[in-house]
């Protein structure tokens, strides 16, 4: 586990090895620490704007002694799994724009208001709590549901933002995102008794229904 102070020191060390200025978005436990939702995290989940930036970051991380590991061990056989690097207990999960079945969209980038600058070369933007929930659904690892529950229980959630973003994901071609999100939220509600308004769940079910109908229509046409 890595605390916020250790993480800041680590990111400073990485920054000193970066060869160009890059902007990166924190989406998981890292973001939750910066927003005060938790004290420590196991993995540092970052989303890059392009492959070039990730490559520069990967080189810096490797030079610190981090070793590349197989994403299948953590994510299974999923599309858009991250490049992963590990040293002792700490792990970097490095995505580029797409996080499994979700896209880290422009609207998500705009909502990331909190900024942390490490020396000159690393600008770390912290994802909005609403988007962290969406990203938790995307990665859906063992601890992710717990983290999502913690966010929902400790801050005011504007569910319309999540519904709008789900619709936006469909527009961006990520049709599976809405289905995954509906299942994820339903699990949170049923298994973990998280308070998600039933009218919001209705909206999600309708979105999924609409998608099914459209798919059926398309397959009939073909």
């Amino acid at each position: 586990m890595i605390t916020i102070d250790q993480q800041q020191r680590l990111l400073l060390n990485v920054t000193r090895r970066l060869t160009k200025k890059i902007t990166v978005y924190a989406i998981g436990g890292t973001a939750m620490m910066f927003l005060g939702f938790k004290d420590a995290t196991l993995d540092i989940d970052l989303v890059f704007e392009n492959e070039k930036d990730r490559t520069v970051f990967k080189e810096a991380v490797k030079s610190l002694g981090y070793l590349e590991m197989d994403a299948i061990k953590v994510y299974g056989v999923k599309r858009n799994a991250p490049d992963m690097f590990k040293l002792n207990d700490e792990r970097f999960d490095l995505f580029v724009v797409e996080v499994i079945d979700f896209i880290f969209s422009d609207s998500m980038r705009k909502r990331a208001e909190q900024i942390h600058q490490f020396e000159e070369n690393l600008i770390l933007k912290i994802a909005n709590p609403h988007d962290i929930i969406l990203m938790k659904c995307a990665t859906d690892r063992i601890k992710d549901k717990d983290d999502a529950r913690r966010i929902i229980n400790s801050t005011k959630i504007d569910w319309d933002i999540i519904v709008e973003e789900a619709e936006h994901q469909i527009e961006l071609g990520k049709e599976r995102a809405v289905f995954d999100l509906t299942c994820f939220l339903e699990d949170l509600r049923k298994m973990m008794s998280v308070n998600i308004p039933s009218e919001i769940m209705e909206k999600f079910f309708k979105l999924v229904e609409r998608q099914i109908k459209e798919k059926k229509k398309k397959s009939r046409e073909n």
Binding site: I4, D5, Q8, L11, L12, T15, F34, L35, G36, F37, D39, E113, Q114, I115, H116, Q117, F118, E119, E120, I126, N153, S154, T155
Partner: protein, 206 residues
Amino acid sequence: MERNELLQKLAGIQTIESVMDILKVDKIIAIYYLHRLRKWGYVKTMKQSNNRRVYNISLDNKLGGKSYYEIINQHSPIKISTPVIYRIYGKEPSLEETLIYAIKTKSLRTILASLALFKKISNWVELYNLAKENHIERQVGALYDLARQIMKVRRMTDKFRSCALPKEEYKFEYVIPKLKSRDFMEIEKVWKIYLPFNKKDLEEYK
């Protein structure tokens, strides 16, 4: 009570009475909650002149690093709250960088408070380079001339002025979109920049 809920309810400047009032608890429990928040790193305590304790409760206090807003508040008689978290680690941001950041926020209050930085600006080369990078050389020049009218400031180098002054073909630009000055039109004409302040706005500097 959960940590985040507690932080959200108490974020800002508090006294023991205001904590008791917000949480609707007695003094002992209020002290206990403050103790917990301090342990998590969210509390900075200050003492007033009458020895009363004032608690600054914020997520910022835990994060470390330095913010541009802290630097502005350190140097300006006009204090501003932090509208967004922007923290810098591993280096001390210069006053020149801070001034450029303040202008880029396009926030009236932030720019007003940052005028005081002109008193301490000494590296005009750095300021010019940063301003040029962000295409706001004329804005910096116009705000400098404005600051000079209300306070004693360090002298801008001739090189900065001559490089930053607009050419004939330049069009008027804004510091803050749609805001023009009624009282400082002379400065506006020189720099071809609309200033967002009138004389009344600057009274806080007197």
